[in-house]
Symmetry: D3
Subunit: 114 residues, 6 copies
């Protein structure tokens, strides 16, 4: 199974499991998380780029994959992705580079499926 499908399928399955627990603070947090990236003073496209770099410097592969997927949906280009990761590397250091390898591999797969 592709990286993209594997990520999306596990994420969906476990999000469903978590939400059906009906834990109030948790469900409100998930709902707030969704609301955050909607058009506001900044449009959704810019916010997804912000979500990507935040995930990148905090070095969470799954969060990076999620925001790469959203960036792909809203039409961020490969050159823009490399600009984002470059800012991330300079701010966050070489400790981020292993995440860059996995991010680029995932991005390339997203682009091949277009």
């Amino acid at each position: 199974m592709s990286l993209v499908k594997m990520f999306n399928s596990y994420r969906s399955k476990m999000n469903d499991r978590i939400l059906e627990q009906n834990h109030k603070v948790t469900n409100r947090f998930f709902s707030l998380d969704n609301q955050t990236y909607r058009d506001g003073a900044l449009d959704s496209r810019t916010k997804e780029m912000l979500g990507l770099i935040a995930s990148y410097v905090l070095r969470c592969d799954d969060c990076i994959k999620y925001h790469l997927g959203k960036c792909h949906e809203v039409g961020v280009t490969s050159d823009e992705i490399f600009d984002i990761l470059a800012v991330g590397n300079v701010v966050g250091g070489s400790i981020c580079i292993p995440h860059m390898r996995r991010a680029v591999e995932y991005w390339d797969e997203l682009m091949q499926n277009t």
Copy 2:
């Protein structure tokens, strides 16, 4: 002395001290840091917003102040700043909120001097 002046003056003084040491890797790193935020696939304005949120979720007050200053220079609005910090809070959690207090205080001072 204002927060903005205090930050800029200490930053300049110590950056000068560091650069005059002529440590090769250090000076190349400082130069690369400057180059990173220039117009590329993404314009400088977007990159400064990326630099701001990266600094925010990594919780470095001085880096936040620096990028708030640059965001102010390139015309980012207050509503956009609040959008950036809101994405930062959701990604990075309530642990970021004390930095939000100081960021908003600093931003308000930047806006008053306009």
Copy 3:
């Protein structure tokens, strides 16, 4: 002015400033943050201890101060605080110790005002 008063006064002032911006995601996040520590499967007292150690290992002095204040309100004892910080030191390492110094200083002030 005492450490406790200084912290509470700056926190209140800036929280007011932030909330009056009426930024929707931000205000929902602040409201969710409050809701989180209310009695649930775990009581509020236990949740404040969880909030304290989470703030401690993430090394945010202001968050530590906030939860120390709440722990004091709900009757956590000094011996319990030292147990929490000890778990924090072992999980988070000696990098937390400077925060322990400031936490104990703040806690001692809270206890003197009782």
Copy 4:
């Protein structure tokens, strides 16, 4: 092999390997780590919950699994686990959510083996 068995077996094997090196500071650190969670001003049950949230906001899957195992042993309930993770999400942000997915999957497996 189940997630729980896989985790415990690798952990045991490598801990044995490390301890037989007889590195003094390392062995003292491992011993201190064990001592930390024993009954004190706070009982072992509370300390395991503290260890869990500390591991969660620092985002270490193996540490989360270890403390989930211990929480299960000392009778922490599913509702309490969800309360702990909810405090963790609010303090630590959405960057913790991928760890929540894996934590809940692991916890569900622990509960099925009861």
Copy 5:
């Protein structure tokens, strides 16, 4: 395939992919990264030990593997590696121990291939 070969092969493949994008800031960052560990006031051997502990306390398995490989090349001994990891554990806490397990497993494989 061995852990060492698997790591090196994926790292090479993805570094090649990244560098051929010809993203200026990225390529300069990779080049600066290489330059950093060359003999200077401190020799390359000491710098690799510094790179190892920095990677260890920041808890990046791939960075740890990379610097273990370099430490092995420049003749760092097993006893020295355990000293480095012990300093890392005390500074960074028990949250680092799962990385120690994987680091020791990788180091043992490097030593067997000598």
Copy 6:
């Protein structure tokens, strides 16, 4: 009062306060912390450099000051300090630079008092 005196005096005062609480795990942790930097496979001088870079990439000003003081005592040179900080910047990113400013200011004061 100088930066060095201010740091040492607050550190001593609060360490005394903490140790006289006679909290067993805490006192064992402080004692283990001291033992860690003694001569072993690596000498104390190298270990202090490791402690410095670990503190630097984890971005704790007080820990940086402490290890700068120890590095000064064991004869680490200014050129070596700049090499350590340069490795730290490349691994940990520009987010470390504000700590470099404060580290160099503190180091310069240590050197003036020699």
